[in-house]
């Protein structure tokens, strides 16, 4: 079995490492939680499957002084590559364990399909389905129905960079990102789009979970949103102030964001902030023909200076 093989591979590598990060079952059968494997015994708790929603790459920059292993899904591996590109981690200090990914669930979709999800007593996952038994009844959901949107358009289900890859490589869902979600959103008028964001951002509590969950939000502790000296951003909690922060985050991510979706997943108020990043990802793609987190040697377009961009012919204007 793939999971057993993965565990063996980790156990073999563990003596050379401070620890390896993976996932295990969390506070209830529906929620996985990050697992730190320090000893071979810890490895036995490792799980692999659609509940492993977290992108563990977020922890890597702070662990630079350690030698650590990380288990990645395909999308997570892109964050690792992006961190390498930006020199925020050292290749020789990270050991990457990859396996083919069949997609992860979106808890928001699960809560919609099963409003009683917080009373789950047991969960069984099969290849294409998920069976949740609560204190009252049992629900079988097809994985397709509750899968995270990013997985329905996944181009890289196999780690793009790995020291150890276990299992048979999976065929990607699509070759190019269809950006259909964005297109449909943008087909609305300006007023509708503005009203949508004002209504969604209104319930933002300015907790910055979206920022801290983002593996590439590197200023984190020195963020403009909280800096006191200078005091860049107002502490008011009007919807414009909250939206302002999202715009700052999105702009800072342009060309770096791999659209891993952690910002949106982490938001306790379920605000669909990934859409903003998708917009910028789309622009960067069109402008620079560039996708973040694929090539450790590449330089993100907005971190580089070129006298003349290939796709922006200023002199021809």
């Amino acid at each position: 079995m793939m999971l057993d093989q993965l565990k063996e591979t980790i156990k073999t590598a563990l003596p050379e490492l401070d620890f390896v990060m993976g996932w295990t079952t969390g506070y209830d059968p529906l929620h996985a939680t990050p697992l730190y494997m320090y000893e071979p015994d810890d490895v036995d708790q490792l799980i692999w499957g659609p509940l492993n929603v977290h992108n563990l790459a977020v922890h890597l920059p702070a662990l630079r002084h350690k030698k650590v292993g990380i288990v990645v899904k395909g999308c997570d591996s892109r964050s690792v590559v992006e961190l390498l590109q930006e020199n925020l981690i050292d290749r020789e200090n990270v050991v990457i364990f990859g396996a083919p990914c069949n997609g992860v669930v979106d808890m928001t979709k699960i809560r919609k399909a099963v409003p009683d999800a917080h009373f789950a007593r047991s969960v069984e996952t099969a290849d294409n389905s998920l069976t949740i038994t609560t204190d009252k009844d049992t629900h079988t959901l097809s994985l397709a129905e509750v899968m995270a949107d990013k997985c329905t358009r996944c181009r890289f289900p196999n780690a793009v960079e790995a020291d150890h890859f276990v299992g048979e490589k999976r065929i990607p869902a699509v070759e190019t990102d269809p950006y259909a979600d964005l297109e449909s959103f943008e087909s609305q008028g300006f007023a509708e789009r503005r009203d949508f964001w004002m209504a969604e951002m209104d319930r933002c509590i300015r907790c910055y979970a979206c920022r801290n969950a983002c593996p590439l939000c590197v200023c984190r502790d020195h963020c403009v949103a909280q800096s006191r000296e200078p005091h860049w951003v107002s502490q008011r909690d009007g919807v414009r102030d909250k939206f302002m922060f999202q715009v700052i985050h999105a702009i800072h991510m342009a060309g770096r964001c791999t659209e891993c979706g952690e910002c949106e997943r982490a938001c306790p108020m379920d605000i669909p902030v990934l859409l903003l990043k998708r917009k910028l990802g789309n622009v960067i793609h069109d402008l620079f023909d560039y996708d973040a987190g694929l090539d450790a040697e590449a330089r993100p377009p907005l971190l580089a200076f070129k006298l003349e961009e290939d796709s922006i012919k200023e002199k021809d204007w």
């Binding site: 990050p34 919609k112 917080h118 009373f119 300015r206 979970a209 801290n212 006191r228 306790p268 379920d270």
Partner: protein, 356 residues
């Protein structure tokens, strides 16, 4: 005396009370449930725990403490005069549909804001004018542990009235004098029949019994002081934490804040806004030194404040009401129950305990 309110009459009852109070209740908002001023267009959601509790009604996420303006001192052109206008925003408020854990959170706020050496007038004025109508829980979530920290699914601390949902309505019980007075208003409450009261009691007892057995946390303050310098313990406990602070903002007992002056030209406001101990800036000192440089120190503080320092200052009251929001909404599902239990069970090396 217990009263009874038909499900169908709930809207009308609230509408009647609405003439006297500003009513805040849990409503569906996008994909979340939050407490908002109740208006016709809102969908009331009292069937489950709100994503975020009612704390911001009494302790706003951001509030103006005062308005200030500068003007030239005509007698002394080298100087400026400052005019200060303190804000007073308290109005009669009815908090409807909180859970017993949420309401107990106000008890913790009272301890911090009204019963300490310095009284917080802003909070006190709002608290004074608020009536809290809670709904007993008849079904407990996987993250609920109110019984571990001194509460229960039908607890009444912090509430003025307790509703228990039964078959076709609610059994309505006053808890405080404020609650008694409230129940004299409105035309829709009738006396509850004995079998309705019995039904409510049975439902509440079943909810209490459905929670996992409560560990004894009396030893926690001492145990947490003992673990204070054990950074290995705190590093492991906090390893997966991303230091985001969502747990504190959603917590019905967390009450830390920041104060900033926001000046635009000659006018400005002094704002108080939520802050949290999980953020690095919280303890950043002007010198550049930070006594809580990493997340391990910060998680230690959050857990320590709730289970050690606060109980130490407030007659043993734990500053956690077991609502489970910090578990449920934590992006990494960090479980405070597990941290506290590990702390309780952590045996210190013999030589360290001998050193006292």
């Amino acid at each position: 005396m217990a009263k009874y309110l038909k499900n169908d009459d709930l809207g009308q009852w609230l509408a009647e009370l609405g003439t006297e109070y500003k009513i805040h209740a849990p409503v569906q908002e996008g994909r979340s449930i939050a407490f908002r001023p109740l208006t016709q267009d809102k969908i009331l959601r009292i069937d489950r725990h709100a994503t975020i509790g009612p704390k911001e009604i009494l302790f706003p996420a951001c509030e103006e403490l005062m308005h200030f303006s500068y003007e030239k001192d005509t007698d002394n052109p080298g100087r400026e005069k400052i005019r200060v206008q303190p804000a007073d925003n308290a109005v009669p408020t009815l908090i409807f549909g909180s859970r017993p854990c949420d309401a107990r959170g106000f008890d913790v706020f009272d301890g911090a804001f009204t019963q300490c050496a310095v009284k917080d007038n802003y909070y006190a004025a709002r608290r004074e004018q608020a009536v809290v109508v809670s709904i007993a829980c008849t079904r407990t979530e996987n993250t609920c542990f109110c019984n571990w920290v001194g509460g229960s699914p039908d607890g009444t601390n912090g509430s003025d009235v307790l509703l228990t949902p039964i078959q076709d309505g609610f059994v309505v019980q006053p808890v405080t004098e404020k609650g008694e007075t409230l129940l004299q208003k409105g035309s829709l409450l009738t006396g509850a029949a004995p079998d309705q009261v019995r039904e409510a009691e049975q439902l509440r007892a079943a909810a209490c019994a459905s929670l996992p057995e409560a560990p004894d946390f009396k030893c926690m303050p001492e145990q947490l002081y003992n673990l204070f310098d054990n950074m290995d313990f705190w590093e492991k406990q906090s390893a997966k934490c991303i230091s985001c602070g969502a747990c504190t903002y959603l917590c019905p007992t967390c009450h830390c804040f920041n104060i900033t002056d926001e000046r635009n030209g000659n006018e400005g406001e002094r704002l108080r806004s939520w802050d949290n101990c999980m953020s690095r800036q919280f303890t950043q000192e002007a010198s550049g030194h930070n006594p809580r440089p990493e997340k391990a120190y910060r998680l230690k503080n959050r857990v320590g404040h709730k289970f050690c320092y606060f109980p130490d200052l407030h007659e043993g009251h734990i500053a956690c009401v077991g609502c489970g929001r910090c578990i449920k909404s934590c992006p990494v599902s960090l479980d405070i129950r597990q941290v506290v239990t590990s702390a309780k069970e952590c045996h210190l090396p013999a030589e360290e305990t001998d050193n006292e």
